[in-house]
């Protein structure tokens, strides 16, 4: 089974990942090859087997809802590619 270019582009769009034409071809081939080799998974009998999301038994880990000291806005914004008046500056979302 070979993933079509459209399929590769559909996945890339879901991941918001820009790809070149060469990427589309390469990833199409490589992902198909990888998935073909993983087909054996489909043969494993998992009837009545629950999924494991993570290996330890902790569930619903909660913390008391209390205010604690935090980083300053300046420290948080120090790595921002674009900032303005104490905010992250972004491009227009609705055009």
């Amino acid at each position: 089974m070979k993933l079509s270019d459209e399929e590769v582009l559909r996945i890339a769009r879901l991941a918001r990942l820009g790809l070149t034409k060469a990427d589309v071809e390469l990833f199409g081939e490589q992902l198909s090859h990888i998935l073909d080799n993983f087909q054996a998974l489909q043969q494993v009998d998992t009837t009545d087997v629950p999924p494991t999301a993570q290996p330890n038994q902790l569930q619903n880990v909660l913390k008391p809802d209390e205010a604690l000291p935090s980083l300053s806005p300046d420290a948080i914004l120090a790595n921002a590619p674009c900032r303005e008046q104490g905010f992250f500056r972004i491009r227009a979302v609705l055009e």
Partner: protein, 487 residues
Amino acid sequence: MTVRNSELTIHEAHRLLKNKELSSVELTTACLERIHEVEGSVHALVTVTDELALEQARKADELINKGDISPLTGIPVVIKDNMCTRGIKTTCSSKMLENFIPPYDATVVEKLNSAHAVMVGKANMDEFAMGSSTEHSAFFPTHNPWDLTRVPGGSSGGSAAAVATGEAIYALGSDTGGSIRQPAGFCSVTGLKPTYGRVSRYGLVAFASSLDQIGPLTRDVTDCALVLNTIAGYDNRDSTSVPISAPDFTKCLTADLRGLNIGIPKEYFVEGMQDEVKEAIFTSIRKLEDLGASVEWEVSLPNTPNALAAYYIIAPSEASANLARYDGVKYGFSYKDTDSMWEAMEKTRQYGFGAEVKRRIMLGTYALSAGYYEAWYLKSQKVRTLIRREFDQAFSKFDILVTPTTPTVPFKIGEKIDDPLQMYLSDVCTLPINIAGVPAISIPAGFAGGLPIGMQLIGKPFGEEAILKTAYAYQQVTDWHNRKPKI
């Protein structure tokens, strides 16, 4: 032959520091000189923090002079570059985070700072810890100190190479599918992946959150126990951190293995395994028998062959979600040459991520997408349950399981870079352990043609003591771990 200061173990250096036969500044200078000597050929470090290191060393010496000394005080460490260090670049060896300066320390870094450790640098890695050779670093590949034409393993390849060469006395790495143990095996150092939940991941840049765990790379098992003593423990900032107290891991280190039951899972001796590796592991297991352990040679964990596929669906799926945060807005690389929000995001990720990271984001996004989720992601999670059950069953009978760390000795740089599936296969013996969430250690167990062979000891959940004890006993009767690369 005199041992260079940069080649000391933590416990040896501690003794010398405590007795004032050596100062932290001298020890730190020895490692910095070693960095100067070998870094041009090994390329283990992304950042060298020499000024900070000497400042920390002077502070440590002051404390030691006042009699205030912990087992790690004044001893040089390198930290994999995916653990946040306040005020010091943390790049994940990615163009995306090339200039990222964290505003806070990871919990493990806080703990090392409280112990007055000395940080000499940040270690190179496969980008975002995705890889098995350190060739996927966006900056440069790290070279294996035992043979510079070969890979050091990955993704903690820089950490392992730094410990092997004496650029630091020990290192921290992270392990999602073998990223501590496989490079430990390839560089002939001791590397432990603790139980999932044992060490806090707060401040570790997330790759696959149900698999990631931080651990030490050291020169021997005693050192490994000492570092684990410092970094283990509950942390309410990591909701997967398990609230149980950690024992003193040095207390279990004895050379007597009587009463210990060892199982050898046959599925780990995979087709295509190098004969010398198999032989070295069999010889090593017989050594454990000589030390008093009972060994059952034909244990079966039949779902082991399915672990690779399950892992390479689960890990990329989690990665695709975790790496969604790199959108060019809050931090990291940002594509600026457009007014369109979507184009900026797509180009940021196109130019900021390397090929392997993109490949895994694509694979994970595919496995999670509508129409494929049940067949791939959910199926893998169910197979994960089967694999865990097999470990549970095995551990009802055995205290530890023993396998090779890798099917072969280190491969050549460039050998697998164009074939992702072949690269993935180098983790075939280590990734089932992350799937199950159990602890495992890799220790030096021989050489083939001058290249290191690693042995993996696997323990029960929170059963680090049994594997540390066994590894310690083995190192009392072998000297593989004392050999140094000639570089």
